[in-house]
Every structure is written in C-alpha cells, then in structure tokens.
C-alpha cells in the first residue's frame, strides 16, 4: 500500500491520529500534508472533532439519594462477607 492520493489520506486519518500508522506510511502522509492544504484541512477538522468530543454532554450526576441507597447496599453486602 502507498499513501499518495487524497483519497488514501482521508482513509488513513484515524490511524494517523491514533498513531498506529506504519512508519513508512506516516512519512508519506507527512509529505502529502506538507504539499496539500486540502488534506491538511481535512485532518485538522477530524482532529477538531476528536478534541471537541471530549467530555461532550451536560455534566450529569447520579442523584444523591441513589448514591446513598447504593452505599447502604454496599455496607450491608460487605457486612455479610
């Protein structure tokens, strides 16, 4: 496999971000991105997605009464051990 065309780059983007790309392909990718602003933009956008996914969603807590009930159950259960 060679990583030459833009169409190869878009399919290699996950391996690139995960850093699981074979060293030869990684070199080819770097070379391609230096020459191709469109692919550089594509990779940057996928990176942007990954970065902005982190912790997405409203902070969400288990209600205190449920935590209390669970802790009580834990206490009873371990008491029987």
């Amino acid at each position: 496999m060679r990583l030459e065309a833009c169409q190869d780059v878009v399919e290699a983007v996950t391996d690139a971000i995960e850093r699981t790309l074979d060293p030869v392909l990684a070199r080819q990718l770097r070379h391609h991105l230096d020459e191709c602003p469109d692919c550089a933009a594509y990779v940057a956008q996928v990176r942007w997605v990954v970065e902005h996914l982190r912790g997405l969603g409203e902070p969400d807590l288990l209600p205190a009464e449920r935590v209390d009930a669970l802790t009580e159950r834990f206490r009873l259960r371990t008491g029987r051990r």
């Binding site: 065309a5 833009c6 169409q7 190869d8 878009v10 399919e11 983007v13 996950t14 391996d15 690139a16 971000i17 995960e18 850093r19 699981t20 790309l21 074979d22 060293p23 392909l25 990684a26 070199r27 990718l29 770097r30 191709c36 469109d38 692919c39 933009a41 594509y42 956008q45 996928v46 942007w48 997605v49 990954v50 902005h52 996914l53 982190r54 912790g55 997405l56 969603g57 902070p59 969400d60 807590l61 288990l62 209600p63 449920r66 935590v67 009930a69 669970l70 802790t71 159950r73 834990f74 206490r75 259960r77 371990t78 008491g79 051990r81």
Partner: protein, 233 residues
C-alpha cells in the same frame, strides 16, 4: 509538528487520544479497598464514574430516568459480583461491560421492535463521497475544486461560535448508527483506551478501528454540511 507514525513505547505519550483512565495500579488499589468493605472508596467511585456511565447509558436508552436506573442496576450488580471479580481486564472494563449489557437489554426492551441489523456498520467502503475526488489523471483520486473540504469554524475564539459547534456536534453524535456512536462515545467522549473499548463491546481491534474511523468521518461531514447550510458553526 504533529506525529502520525506508530508511537515507540519510550516516547509514547500516555493517553494521546484522550486523557488516561485510572491506571492499572490505581484500579488494583480500588478493588482491594472495595473488597475490604471501604465505604468511602465505594461512594467515591460511584460519584466519580457515574457521570460517564450516565452519558454512555443514555446512548442506549430513551430517557434520563432510564439511564439512572441502568447505572443504579449496574452498581448493584457490581456489589453482588465483587467477590468473583478476577481483575484481568481491569475494574473499569468490568464495570462498563456490566453497564453496556444492562443498558442494551433495557434499550431493546424500550424500542419494543426488533432492531434491524445496522446498515453502515463497521464494514469497508469510503468514508468520503468518491464524487469529491478527480477521476482522471494526472490528479486522479485527489480532491476536485468543488469537493475539497469546506471550512466550518472560522473563529474558534468566539464563545458563541464554540457553543454552537458543540451543540451541532452533540446533534451529529445522536444521529450516528448505534455501534459507531457507542465506540466514539467511549473512546472520544469518555476517554477509554481502544483496548478497553474492545473488551467492553466485544469488538476485535480491527472492528473497533473501523467503527471509530467511520464515526469520526461522519461527524466531520455533518459539521461541514451544517456550516454549508448556513449553520454557521
């Protein structure tokens, strides 16, 4: 300069694709504390892990209340199963496996219909419309002028633009096929490692990679489409 090649262990950055989870040693200490019946440790664990568990459960069930039930049932199963926990896969993997089993069971009950096999499910095929690439030499398989990626975040410094982009991303996430959504939520939203996700969802590494790849490509595409439609993110 961004690095793309395989990380060599000596220079590998831990958790390069997300913050590291609780390390193995820390998890072993936790298990020991739980087996001793350390209530404070249990309570702390419930409080720390439940937010992520609620978000993950929410990808399978219909309501917030359902997700809370799923998380509560998961912790009850953890309490019951603790004595038999062997710890090979790590505490978090074990807890999330129970969580996913509980959430999926409840999710399919709530759906009340037989779930159709997923169409776009971790098999090959291009993630970017082939029509966006040239089909003639010398630049075959390179972007066409009209097909090249369109920018979507002009001003990342602007708080309103950022909030809008996050909202769009959340919407796009909810539209993903279930398995893709689960993989990307566990990996990218909650920061589990690829090994943990494979264990939690019973996926091969290759399958996990393909689902993640397709999910991220689709999210990017959705944001690009939204920007093109005047979404303005």
């Amino acid at each position: 300069v961004p690095e793309y090649g395989r990380a060599v262990p000596a220079t590998a950055t831990p958790g390069a694709s997300g913050a590291p989870g609780p390390g193995r040693v820390r998890q072993q200490e936790l298990v020991a504390a739980l087996l001793r019946g350390d209530e404070a440790a249990f309570r702390h664990l419930v409080e720390t892990w439940s937010p992520a568990m609620l978000r993950v459960a929410r990808t399978c069930v219909r309501s917030h209340a359902s997700a809370q039930d799923v998380v509560q049932d998961t912790w009850l199963a953890v309490i019951e199963g603790l004595d038999g926990f062997r710890g090979e896969a790590g505490l978090r993997t074990w807890v999330f496996r129970i969580l996913l089993n509980t959430a999926r069971r409840r999710g399919s009950r709530e759906a009340r219909t037989v779930l159709l096999p997923e169409q776009d499910d971790g098999t090959g095929g291009p993630t970017v419309d082939p029509g966006r690439f040239r089909d003639t030499d010398p630049w075959r398989r390179h972007w066409t002028d009209a097909g090249c990626p369109r920018p979507w975040h002009e001003d990342p410094q602007d708080a309103a633009v950022r909030a809008d982009a996050r909202r769009l991303l959340g919407d796009a996430l909810r539209r993903l096929p279930p398995r893709q959504r689960l993989v990307v939520v566990l990996r990218d939203v909650e920061g589990l490692s690829s090994e943990e996700v494979c264990d939690v969802l019973d996926l091969t590494p290759a399958n996990q990679r393909v689902l993640l790849h397709r999910a991220r490509a689709r999210l990017r595409q959705d944001l690009e489409d939204a920007a093109g439609a005047g979404g303005g993110a």
